[in-house]
C-alpha cells in the first residue's frame, strides 16, 4: 500500500474516533457555555445511554427506533435530575465545589452501573445495519458514516437552535449574565434545566453511536471518552459549539497520525502536548472568544 493511501486511511481512522469525541464534546461545551461548569459526569451519561440502549433492545426487546427514543429520554431526564439535585444548590458556590460534586456524580453513576451490571463486559450487537462504503483500499463502516452525519447534523442543529430560536437566545442570555437574564424575565432555572436535558440527550446519542461502534459495555466506558472530549472542547474553545466539533476531529486525527507515524506509546503525550501548545498560543482555544478582565 502506498504512503498516500496509508496516510489517507489513518486520516479516516482519525475522523472515526474524532467524530465520536466531537459528538461528546458538543454536549460538554454547551453545558459549560451556559451553566459555566465542567460537568465531569458527562462521560458517564454516555455510559448510562449505552446501558439503557442495551436494556431496551437486548432485554426488553423493543424495536430499535423506540429504544433509541427511550434512551434519549432516559438520559435527558437523568440530566435534569442530576442538575436539580447536585448542581442547582451550588449555583453560587465556588467552581471548585461544583467540580468536585460533578466528580462525585461521575463516581456515583459508574458504581451504580457496576453494582447492577457487574464489571464483566457485556457484548452488544450494533443496531445500525447500514453497509459501509469502500474507497479503493479503504473501508468506511456504516456506523462511522452515521456517526459523521450525526455529529455534523447535531453541530449545525445546535448552533441554529442556540442562535435562532427563542429558547436559544434565552440560553445565550443566561450564559452572558445570569442576573441580567432573570431581570429580563428569563426563567434561569428552566433554561439551565433545558441545557442539561439537551446536553444529556446529546450524550445519549453519543452513547448509542459509541456502543454501535465498539459493541462492548463496561461501567467505565464513558470515563476515557469523557476526558478526551473535554480536552477536545477546550482545544476548540470551551463554550463554542463549532469549536467542539473542530477540537474533536483534530484530536482524533492527531491521535491517529501520531500513533501511526510517531509512537503509539507517546500518542497520549502528544495529544496533551498539542493541547498545551494551543492554549499557550491561544489561551481560549482555537475558536474561543478571547476574554480580558476589565480594569
Amino acid at each position: 500500500m502506498s504512503l498516500i493511501t496509508g496516510i489517507l486511511e489513518q486520516l479516516i481512522n482519525g475522523l472515526r474516533t474524532g467524530s465520536i469525541y466531537a459528538l461528546i464534546a458538543i454536549g460538554y461545551t454547551m453545558v459549560y457555555g451556559i451553566a459555566k461548569m465542567i460537568n465531569f459526569a458527562h462521560g458517564d451519561i454516555i455510559m448510562v445511554g449505552a446501558y439503557s440502549l442495551y436494556v431496551f433492545t437486548a432485554i426488553l426487546e423493543l424495536p430499535a427506533a423506540a429504544a433509541v427514543i427511550l434512551t434519549v429520554a432516559v438520559c435527558a431526564a437523568l440530566g435534569i435530575v442530576v442538575e436539580r439535585i447536585a448542581y442547582k444548590p451550588l449555583r453560587n458556590a465556588p467552581s471548585l465545589a461544583v467540580l468536585i460534586t460533578a466528580i462525585g456524580v461521575s463516581y456515583f453513576l459508574q458504581n451504580t452501573a457496576l453494582l447492577i451490571f457487574k464489571a464483566t463486559p457485556i457484548p452488544f450487537g450494533s443496531i445500525i445495519n447500514i453497509s459501509g462504503i469502500r474507497l479503493g483500499n479503504i473501508n468506511i463502516s456504516g456506523v462511522t458514516l452515521v456517526t459523521f452525519v450525526a455529529t455534523a447534523v447535531m453541530m449545525v442543529g445546535l448552533t441554529l437552535f442556540v442562535n435562532k430560536t427563542r429558547a436559544g437566545s434565552a440560553m445565550r442570555a443566561v450564559s452572558e449574565d445570569r442576573g441580567a437574564a432573570s431581570l429580563m424575565g428569563i426563567n434561569v432555572n428552566k433554561t439551565i434545566s433545558m441545557t442539561f436535558a439537551i446536553g444529556s440527550a446529546l450524550a445519549a446519542v453519543a452513547g448509542i453511536l459509541y456502543i454501535c461502534q465498539y459493541q462492548s459495555l463496561q461501567p467505565t466506558l464513558g470515563a476515557l471518552p469523557g476526558i478526551k472530549a473535554f480536552v477536545a472542547a477546550v482545544l476548540g474553545g470551551i463554550g463554542n459549539i463549532p469549536g467542539a466539533m473542530l477540537g474533536g476531529l483534530l484530536l482524533g486525527i492527531i491521535e491517529s497520525l501520531s500513533r501511526a507515524y510517531i509512537s503509539t506509546q507517546l500518542a497520549d503525550a502528544i495529544v496533551y502536548g498539542v493541547l498545551v501548545i494551543v492554549l499557550l498560543v491561544r489561551p481560549s482555544g482555537l475558536l474561543g472568544k478571547q476574554k480580558t478582565e476589565k480594569v
Partner: protein, 397 residues
C-alpha cells in the same frame, strides 16, 4: 467561619465510619458464625486452616480477583465435603478470607496485613503482578508460604517462600513464539500489545526476542493504552505490512475490540494470543471475528474432560451459571497445591510446607502433573487452544 461546617463535616464522616464499623461487626458476626461452626466440628477432632486470599474485587481488574475468589471456594468446598485435609492425626477444614487490593500496590499491602490480622496461615495471591510483588517483602519477613495463582511477572516469586501456579510471562511468550514458528509455520509476525500493562509488555518482549532468535521477523510492533477501545490505527499500520499473523498478548476485553475492528476493516490476517484471551467468546458479539484464533492457555472451560466439566458445573452452580476462566482454574489448583503441601509436609507450619513444595505433584486443571522447582515456578505442559466453530478446543500436537 469554617469551623462549624468542619464540625458538621466531621460528624458526617464520623457517622459514616461508625456506620461502616457496625457493618464491619455485622460481617464479623457472620465470620464468627463460621468459626463457631468450625469449633463444633473441632470438637469432633478437626481444626480450621485459613487461606488468605488477596486480589482485586473492585476497580478495573475486578473480574480477575472475583474469578480467583470464586474458583478457590469451589476447591475449598470440594475438599471440605470430602472430609478436609488430614495432617498427621488432625483433620483440617479449609476456610478463606479474601481481601480486595484493587490491583494496586499500596492497597495490596493493606489487604495482606488485613488477612494476617484475621489469622491467615497461607497466602493465595496477589492476583495481579504489581500487587503481588508489593507484598513479597512482607510475606518473606513473616516466613509465610505465598502461592500466587496468576502473578506472572518474574519478580513475583523472587523469594524462597513464593510460588506460582501460572506460567511466567517470558515463559509463555517464548512458548507461543516457538509454537508460532515451529508448529504453525509463520515467519512474518506483527505484535499488538498493551504498553501500560506489565503482563502484556512482559509477553511481548519475550515473544519478540524468541521470534528473532528463531529467525522469524517482527514486521510490526504496535501498542495501545490501558482503556483504549479503538485499534483501527494500529490495525491499519499492521495491514500495510506483509504480516502473516498478529500476536495479541492481552486480556479478552482488548482482544474483543481488536478482532471485531479487524473484521470490520476487512482484514483477514489470523490472530494468535495469550492466556488472557480465555473468555473472549463471552464478550464478542459475533464469534466469527475470532474464529481460528489460537492462544496459549492452561485452561479451557469447554474441553471434554471430566474433571474440568465437574469444576465448570460446580462453579456455575455456586455463581449463577457463570463460566470459570483461567483465573478461577488457577485458584482451584492453588488450593489443591496448598492441600498437597500440607499433606506432604505433615505439618501446617509455613516453613515445612515451603520445604514440601518442591516435592509435590498436583494433578490440576491447568496441568496434569504440576510440579514446582526451587525458584518457585510451576512446571507443566503448555497447551494451546483454538477457536473452532465458535468454541474453544485444545490443539492436538
Amino acid at each position: 467561619m469554617k469551623k462549624w461546617g468542619k464540625a458538621v463535616s466531621f460528624i458526617m464522616a464520623a457517622s459514616l465510619v461508625v456506620a461502616s464499623l457496625t457493618a464491619c461487626s455485622g460481617s464479623g458476626e457472620t465470620t464468627a458464625d463460621t468459626t463457631a461452626a468450625g469449633e463444633t466440628s473441632a470438637a469432633a477432632g478437626t481444626e480450621t486452616f485459613l487461606i488468605g486470599g488477596i486480589g482485586p474485587l473492585t476497580g478495573s481488574a475486578a473480574s480477575y480477583g472475583i474469578s480467583v475468589e470464586q474458583g478457590a471456594w469451589v476447591a475449598i468446598d470440594e475438599i471440605n465435603a470430602a472430609g478436609g485435609v488430614k495432617v498427621g492425626d488432625t483433620t483440617y477444614m479449609l476456610d478463606m478470607v479474601f481481601e480486595d487490593d484493587e490491583a494496586t500496590e499500596d492497597k495490596a499491602i493493606q489487604a495482606y496485613n488485613t488477612v494476617m490480622d484475621e489469622g491467615a496461615q497461607v497466602i493465595m495471591g496477589a492476583v495481579t503482578s504489581g500487587a503481588c510483588i508489593a507484598i513479597t517483602p512482607l510475606t518473606l519477613q513473616d516466613g509465610i508460604l505465598q502461592i500466587t495463582p496468576s502473578g506472572s511477572a518474574e519478580a513475583c516469586i523472587a523469594n524462597d517462600n513464593a510460588f506460582r501456579i501460572c506460567f511466567s510471562d517470558p515463559e509463555q511468550g517464548r512458548a507461543m513464539a516457538d509454537y508460532a514458528i515451529d508448529s504453525l509455520g509463520y515467519t512474518k509476525i506483527a505484535v499488538l500489545y498493551n504498553n501500560s500493562d506489565e503482563y502484556s509488555t512482559g509477553l511481548q518482549t519475550a515473544f519478540e526476542e524468541e521470534v528473532k532468535a528463531k529467525g522469524g521477523e517482527i514486521v510490526a510492533s504496535e501498542s495501545f493504552g490501558a482503556d483504549d477501545v479503538d485499534f483501527n490505527t494500529q490495525l491499519s499500520s499492521i495491514r500495510s505490512t506483509d504480516a502473516e499473523v498478529i500476536y495479541v498478548p492481552a486480556y479478552y476485553q482488548a482482544a474483543t475490540y481488536i478482532s471485531n475492528q479487524a473484521k470490520e476493516m476487512g482484514m483477514e490476517i489470523p490472530f494468535i494470543g495469550s492466556d488472557g484471551w480465555d473468555g473472549v467468546l463471552g464478550t464478542v458479539t459475533d464469534a466469527s471475528t475470532v474464529e481460528g484464533a489460537i492462544f496459549s492457555s492452561p485452561f479451557c472451560a469447554s474441553v471434554d474432560d471430566e474433571r474440568v466439566q465437574n469444576f465448570v458445573k460446580a462453579y456455575g452452580e455456586a455463581n449463577d451459571g457463570a463460566v470459570p476462566d483461567q483465573f478461577a482454574a488457577d485458584a482451584y489448583d492453588t488450593v489443591y497445591t496448598i492441600k498437597a503441601a500440607m499433606e506432604q509436609a505433615g505439618s501446617i507450619e509455613s516453613e515445612d510446607m515451603i520445604a514440601a513444595m518442591t516435592e509435590i505433584t498436583v494433578n490440576g486443571l491447568t496441568g496434569d502433573a504440576i510440579t514446582f522447582d526451587a525458584s518457585g515456578a510451576a512446571e507443566k505442559d503448555v497447551r494451546f487452544v483454538e477457536i473452532v466453530d465458535g468454541a474453544y478446543q485444545y490443539r492436538e500436537e
